[in-house]
Symmetry: C2
Subunit: 335 residues, 2 copies
């Protein structure tokens, strides 16, 4: 009787320590080591993957709050590994759509190896000529048509894409970021019509009036707080605010109050939140559009790579003070 050999291996993990109330510090996690079987348990249908790179995203901060929200945005469990998007290689599979050696992206753990139970949220990567880590970020963007577009946090993972899409659509695009270096990137690499460093503007309202004398048609909201309040003052009639994130608020237990919501009435503004996973069915169409643009150099995508799982927590903390230039990614393994 040939018993199947169970291969166990050491697995470094980044565990979530405990709920966070205010600012994120990198001691919210501890690194530990366990063993993991590289075989998918019999009777189950998942895959075991080797994680190659992991995504650092602002929403992860919110999962560190104690909350009762179910599902995708439920709180992390103290003592369990952080989870998030990642790119990984299949080591063993009982999923009929995936085989050993396939590259996938989806939700995985902050660890070297992860057993992923059957889920719809694991995608096979078909095009490996684009750096793999792009898959951790580029899918999140959602372009909107329009004329005068303002993008905040514009050198971040999502912001950098939004502005470029808007430019490709023939929009007037002005973006803001938090350093001269980033502003330079926005102007000269991404080719926006203009860009400014919000940290150097004493009067954000005046800044917006300078760049948008006729007002803003579309605001792509990544920041929240004061920025949202002044944007409301500067929207045009029938302006739209696509709410992707409010990173300025995530480290605050008491959120800033937004006072200019009455502008919504008189200007008939539409404010709408969205999450990438409502658009997963359009993902292949998105790739059809985006991959040629990247290959032909018509679109740039900038990453900020942290090397090694150990540097993960600090990298995640860094995005809340604008440490990253481009999408923050953690490189766990090279293949």
């Amino acid at each position: 009787m040939a018993a199947e050999r169970v291969v166990e291996i050491k697995n470094k993990q980044v565990l979530f320590k405990d709920y966070v109330r205010d600012s994120l510090e990198s001691d919210m996690c501890i690194t530990t080591e366990k063993t993991i079987s590289l075989r998918v348990p019999e009777g189950t249908k998942g895959v075991v993957v080797k994680n190659l790179c992991l995504s650092c995203d602002p929403y992860m901060r919110n999962r560190m709050n104690k909350s009762e929200i179910d599902g995708f945005f439920s709180s992390y469990s103290p003592g369990s590994p952080i989870t998030g998007f990642g790119v990984a290689k299949v080591i063993d599979s009982r999923d009929t759509n995936l085989k050993k050696g396939d590259l996938v992206w989806g939700t995985t753990g902050w660890e070297e190896y992860t057993f992923i139970e059957p889920t719809n949220a694991l995608f096979k990567i078909e095009h490996t000529d684009i750096p793999l880590s792009y898959y951790t970020g580029i899918l999140v963007a959602k372009a909107k048509k329009g004329e005068k577009v303002f993008v905040s946090a514009a050198s971040g993972s999502v912001g950098q894409l939004v502005g470029q899409f808007a430019k490709l659509m023939g929009c007037y695009v002005v973006a803001c970021a938090g350093s001269i270096e980033k502003v330079d990137l926005l102007k000269h690499k991404f080719g926006y019509d203009n860009a400014f460093n919000y940290k150097e503007e004493h009067d954000l309202d005046a800044a917006l009036k300078r760049y948008f004398p006729e007002g803003i048609d579309i605001y792509f909201e990544n920041i929240g707080g004061k920025m949202l309040d002044v944007v409301l003052l500067n929207t045009r009639n029938f302006g739209r605010i696509a709410v992707c994130g409010m990173i300025s608020q995530y480290n605050q237990e008491n959120h800033e109050g937004i006072k200019n919501l009455m502008e919504i009435i008189y200007k008939r503004v539409r404010v709408e939140g969205f999450l990438y996973f409502d658009y997963l069915l359009q993902y292949s169409k998105f790739l059809e559009t985006v991959l040629p643009l990247i290959r032909e150099g018509k679109m740039d995508y900038i990453e900020d790579l942290a090397e090694g799982l150990d540097n993960g927590p600090a990298a995640l903390v860094g995005i809340f003070s604008g440490h990253n230039i481009g999408k923050q990614v953690i490189k766990v393994a090279h293949e």
Copy 2:
């Protein structure tokens, strides 16, 4: 040469005195008397009307602020009559679409007689079997389809219609108002599924959770402030907030900050402001729908009538403390 006789008549007027900063008091106006010609001046194309009833609407408070907004919501001019919606009878006309004796509704002055320059915003009233003053209010409502509907300020001019439309569409409707008498009206006259007195709820969040254990699909926003903040906590995924007004804020120079806007992201909520005049082209269709409903008694419309122009300012002030039950109207003349 038969000179045309110019008929001049005394014209009582309610003049806007000066900009208001905080709470509205009825001394924001003064009553005065001038003379007016009952003939449309030669070379112009307007109409002279005798005002029959005038509408008291919350947005009028905002026109008493000093502001630089142009157009429909521009500030009132100190020393000039208050303007607003009204129903009036044509006394003289050089407008080819209107003749002496026609009943019209549109923007008119708080005075006995008004010369109205040519404008698109004057509508001939074709159906006089519905009380005329209904025209000052009923056109503003805009029903939305959906399941679980919450209406605030639900016994006011707009709120009372919204909930009834939602009921006719088969929605579950819960509404709130500020007195037992109003709540009774909402439950027993309008037939809502439930209603509550928000002034008696110490914990609005708990109240909403009681009436909407599964959350709110559509919130029809008339109030703003705290109510909006707790509604955001209680919306369902893909909830919609139709923003019609924020009456709780109009008397405040510093508006309350809304803190729960992050809910918009995770629940993909759409918040959208609207103004009736974007829908004027649909007005005849609206009448086709609503007039039979009123005639057949399937829809109620409650008015709070103040008698006489002199009582206008106090009636307008009253709506900000919930003094009115139903739409507040000023009866200026009976015909």
